[in-house]
């Protein structure tokens, strides 16, 4: 118990980094994943194929291998991404480790985000768009009034699953020099060898809280958007 109480600042710092990684790569993966999905369902078959290839490649590679590419292989060909350390906001700056971890998490998660968006668009019955066209709605009206509202509603559950997986996947950054929650457990476990179970329990509770917040947020959205669905 005292392992957590005496080193509570380490615990908080660890989860601060976990949340930071989650939020940064969560937003980046939503943006990149949406671009991939747009290419995937768009009319240009070259882009659709390239996006499909990206998804297949990154979904079947373990996240740890992507981390190895970014953190160990890329520096060999001159990409360390350490230039981000030059960027300063006040007296706060991003470390190269943090940026590389976000990059790896984003590249990996985007593939899943793309699939979630695509399944959302596929969930809209084709008759909806056909009826809208038959009524004379323009492409823009069709998208904003008919297709997107329905697709967005269908995309919330799979997207939430992907983001929850991302929150848990931030733990992989522990193996690449980031003192986030899992690395903190290893550190505290080495320091207080007799209290591993308590330390594990407290770190696990931290992750569960993050997961619950995301899940409850998604339920709230789902309930709000349920409206006239079914």
């Amino acid at each position: 118990m005292e392992a957590i109480t005496t080193d509570f600042d380490l615990y908080l710092k660890g989860f601060g980094l976990t949340v930071g990684l989650f939020v940064a790569s969560g937003i980046a993966s939503l943006v990149f994943g949406a671009l991939l999905a747009a290419a995937r369902v768009g009319p240009i078959s070259v882009l659709a194929k390239a996006s499909a290839a990206y998804v297949t490649l990154f979904r079947n590679t373990p996240l740890l291998m992507i981390f190895i590419f970014i953190a160990i292989a890329m520096p060999r060909i001159g990409f360390t991404f350490n230039f981000v350390e030059e960027i300063r906001v006040g007296d706060w700056n991003i470390s190269g480790f943090f940026f590389r971890a976000c990059l790896a998490l984003t590249l990996y998660t985007s593939a899943f985000v793309c699939e979630a968006f695509r399944s959302g668009i596929n969930a809209v019955p084709i008759g909806q768009a056909e009826a809208a066209r038959a009524l004379g709605l323009t492409f823009g009206q069709n998208m904003t009034n008919i297709v997107m509202p329905q697709a967005l509603r269908a995309v919330v559950p799979p997207l939430t699953s992907v983001q929850i997986a991302l929150a848990k996947n931030t733990s992989v950054a522990a193996a690449f020099g980031i003192a986030e929650a899992t690395a903190t457990m290893r550190l505290l476990g080495n320091r207080y060898g007799d209290q591993t179970v308590e330390i594990f329990f407290f770190i696990a509770v931290g992750y569960i809280i993050i997961v619950e917040i995301v899940a409850l947020g998604s339920y709230a959205l789902e309930r709000r958007w349920k409206a006239a669905a079914r």
């Binding site: 070259v46 740890l64 193996a175 899992t182 290893r186 594990f200």
Partner: protein
């Protein structure tokens, strides 16, 4: 391109525009690939010496052995996870809250906690400093608990996906609860669940790579000595990643085949996400 929700069949003008976009994007993609290859070449990453270990029988043997260890960990974990999943999946469907609630708690806990955290915990608690478990078993146990919990949820969803008339008919001809589950619902649910089960094999296989953090054997563990000896980080990463991708694609292919064969084009199994408040049971 056949009918799409998003756009009409393109006319002559749109087709011309699409052709221009196609050419531009093709050029961009090819340009990107050429840049990558040029960069690799500039930094001497395409030299034969760096790739030689992957053509040397002795090293290939080491890599194959590592692949075998990885597969052992993945399939060992999946087999144990199936047992775990059946026990907890059925417990979650129980009529008695006293059985249902602990099963729900266990399943939710292991689904919400990162696998790497579980692995590190077992490693710290039972392996490091002469504990009874080898890192190999730490990986297997952590993967069993996580994948088992997911499979428990898959099983529950699978049983719930069996039309309720089946269970009602079974009750009507006088079967007991356990008979209904084992003889009527489970055999039909297995068919629906099989693709999801194989996708879970892919997840387990990918997660064995996390053994890297706790010095467990496997493909990712064998990388470090190779790239430290030859300084060939890029070729090593490419080769090992390719092995993972090939094995996973084979498994995915199997899952798709089974999906077509057993379930047809029907919608895939809908497994609720973690963190759900609902612990509902079958009809």
């Amino acid at each position: 391109m056949s009918a799409s929700v998003l756009f009409d069949t393109p006319g002559p003008k749109a087709r011309r525009r699409h052709r221009i976009f196609t050419i531009v994007s093709l050029l961009l993609l090819v340009g990107f690939l050429v840049l990558v290859v040029m960069r690799l070449n500039d930094r001497g990453q395409l030299e034969y010496a760096l790739w030689e270990p992957f053509l040397t029988p002795a090293y290939l043997e080491v890599i194959l052995e590592a692949l075998l260890k990885t597969l052992q960990m993945a399939f060992g974990a999946i087999l144990l996870a199936i047992v775990f999943g059946v026990v907890f999946g059925i417990a979650k469907l129980s009529d008695h809250r006293i059985v249902r609630a602990p099963a729900w708690l266990v399943v939710e806990f292991f689904r919400a906690v990162p696998v790497l955290l579980l692995m590190t915990f077992f490693w710290l608690a039972f392996s490091i400093g002469g504990g009874p478990l080898s890192p190999f078993w730490c990986v297997v146990i952590a993967l069993t608990l996580y994948n088992g919990s997911v499979l428990a949820e898959v099983l529950r969803a699978g049983i719930n996906a069996v039309p309720p008339g089946q269970a009602e008919a079974a009750y009507a001809i006088g079967m007991r609860k356990s008979q209904v589950i084992w003889l009527i619902q489970l055999p039909q649910a297995v068919k629906i669940m099989l693709p999801a089960l194989i996708s879970q094999c892919v997840v387990a296989l990918k997660d064995t790579s996390l053994g890297f953090y706790i010095t467990a054997p496997g493909l990712t563990a064998v990388m470090r000595p190779i790239y430290l000896e030859f300084q060939n980080q890029v070729p090593t990463a490419i080769v090992i990643a390719s092995i993972y991708i090939i094995v996973n694609l084979l498994l995915t292919g199997l899952a798709t085949y089974l999906q077509h064969k057993l379930v047809g084009e029907k919608k895939q199994l809908d497994v609720p996400m973690v963190g759900g408040v609902d612990s509902g049971r079958a009809v």
